[in-house]
Subunit: 356 residues, 2 copies
């Protein structure tokens, strides 16, 4: 039997509800492939701030380090929005990413048939959409020096965008490797007409690209990409970009899938270890009502099987089950047609388990 230790961090808002469904699906697929799981549950984000006065307790980090993979729900909520930076739930995400060396964030956006009607884009524009944003996750403005100073002239705030050559290299390699298993096209997104860091980025992409002669590479400015992504989304395969651009573009890509409730993510480092979480947030407005869409979390579990357990078959089984369930017309509130009956979070998870 395959034994796997999975750290489960439900977090805030709808986090616990959706993570339940993720774990349920993990177990169901695990049964089919003879896995045994050890789950260790940890505190993170707002909940951890309340109980332990820190968003990312050392204990949680230790649990993650011992695990083969981490499943995270979501963090944050209005209650902590006015906290000082070190006591904000988001700080936990940054801490996990940095401490666990998770520099490669994979955010695939696939249009599942039947969800065209939930998107604001025309169905013909959405046809064939299947892209992957590969976002650098441990550099750039997120982690550079920051400060606010008093000057004679009032306050002055500074953030710093830093990239080292080797940081760019490893993420770009990852993008090209992923493209090799896909449609062999990489769009590297930067702002090279303005930023020094983008010029470094672009030169590294050009150098690395030579090692993948079968992959086509294209450079695109971030402003143009923000437009092209909604103009001709089916033309993109792999998009690789720095941390903040990736944050913006992957949220925008949610529109291609019908709902941000559909977008999974994997955050990877050098080995097989990875952290898996839905791209959407903790949605405090609907927390506790059992109406959240668990699909992004379930698809994140599929990514866990693919990237951390190297079990493509199990990953594919989950994705196929989601596809079937959606094709059968099952929908949570966020993607249901107006007036149609929507399933609860749990019912949606059950449907996927049945289909497995």
């Amino acid at each position: 039997a395959n034994h796997k230790h999975v750290a489960v961090l439900p977090g805030d808002g709808i986090g616990p509800e959706i993570v339940d469904e993720g774990v349920k699906v993990m177990k169901a697929v695990g049964d089919r492939f003879d896995y045994t799981f050890h789950f260790s549950f940890g505190l993170v984000g707002g909940g951890a701030i309340e109980r332990l006065k820190q968003p990312l307790p050392e204990e949680t980090l230790t649990q993650c380090r011992k695990a083969d993979a981490v499943l995270l729900g979501a963090v944050g909520g209005p209650r902590w929005d006015r906290n000082p930076p070190h006591l904000r739930p988001e700080k936990a995400l940054l801490g996990l990413r940095k401490e666990l060396g998770l520099y490669a964030n994979l955010r695939p956006a696939i249009l599942y048939p039947g969800l065209e009607s939930s998107s604001s884009l025309k169905p013909e524009v959405l046809e064939g959409v299947d892209l992957m944003v590969v976002r650098e996750l441990t550099g750039g403005l997120y982690f550079g020096d920051k400060r606010t100073e008093k000057t004679a002239d009032g306050l002055k705030a500074t953030d710093t965008l830093v990239y080292h050559e080797h940081e760019v290299e490893r993420i770009v390699h990852r993008a090209f490797q992923l493209a090799q298993g896909r449609r062999k096209h990489v769009t590297s997104v930067d702002k090279a007409n303005i930023l020094e860091s983008s010029r470094l980025w672009r030169s590294v992409v050009e150098r690395v690209a030579k090692q993948y002669p079968e992959v086509e590479v294209e450079h695109m400015l971030v402003d143009n990409c923000a437009m092209q992504m909604v103009r001709r989304p089916a033309d993109f395969d792999v998009i690789v970009t720095e941390n903040l651009f990736g944050d913006i573009l992957s949220d925008e890509a949610a529109i291609l899938t019908g709902s941000i409730g559909m977008l999974p993510s994997a955050s990877l480092g050098e080995g097989t270890f990875g952290l898996y979480e839905p791209v959407h947030g903790s949605a405090p407005d609907i927390a506790g009502q059992g109406v959240a869409n668990p699909v992004a979390t379930i698809l994140s579990v599929a990514m866990m099987f693919r990237h951390s357990f190297h079990n493509e078959e199990a990953a594919g089984m989950i994705e196929k089950a989601v596809r079937e369930v959606l094709a059968s017309g099952a929908r949570t509130m966020d993607v249901a047609s107006p007036g149609a009956l929507a399933l609860s979070t749990e019912e949606m998870g059950d449907k996927v388990v049945e289909a497995i």
Copy 2:
């Protein structure tokens, strides 16, 4: 008679073609309102690099300083893409913005009836779209310190994002003032969960907002805004944001208008002086063919009458003419339906002049 001195900088690619139509429309409206114009033509961008070895010659800057307003076409092209930063056409834009103190960039996105079919968004999503991106134009990553250094570990590139309190204040005031004349709603976009500069931005917005009690204010994270802008665009009125976020979001907003060939802009400082230019670039691929859409430039001329000449009536006359011409079915290539006959740049300009 109203005498106005307008500096005209056609620039590269399609720049000269579209600027011709802008000038034509300016003259036509000027005749109706008894203006006399003095036009001074200047070199900028790639053309200036070729002839004078600098993207923004001192002479051009002097011309602009003497003028009441500037009409700019577009700059850039593949020929100069590999030049060192100080010899790139874009440097001219940055120079004009900074030297002329043009800190407020207004980019309105309006859906003209009949253009729904050119957008990738569903017509029902586009209904009622009328938003204005107010972008800070002389601060942030564009103008902060930049450098690339050799380290023991390879190259390291740094860009700096700096905002001073007073820089945020003046642009935020401008946004609230604009909102007062519109639907009285301001969305301030930042990344306050990560950036120190965004936290300063947000605190200034909250303070300034108190002076405009009739205007509703909302804070939105940039990643969420990139999604909401294409999900429910009609809900936005004025969007105010820092330089790079504004660059990205205003290009994305092009999708709401059917074509980036429809988006005008005004760059303003403290007085009535302003620089007016289409948001689109120099489009080297179609340059010299007479097929570019001149509407963004023509609408920029309308903004010149509104913001620099304080002639709302003349501005409205141009916008109404554009509306009528488009409603009559006249289209340039970028927005024509497949197979339909497209007008040339000049024909489109003539139609607008006729309608005036």
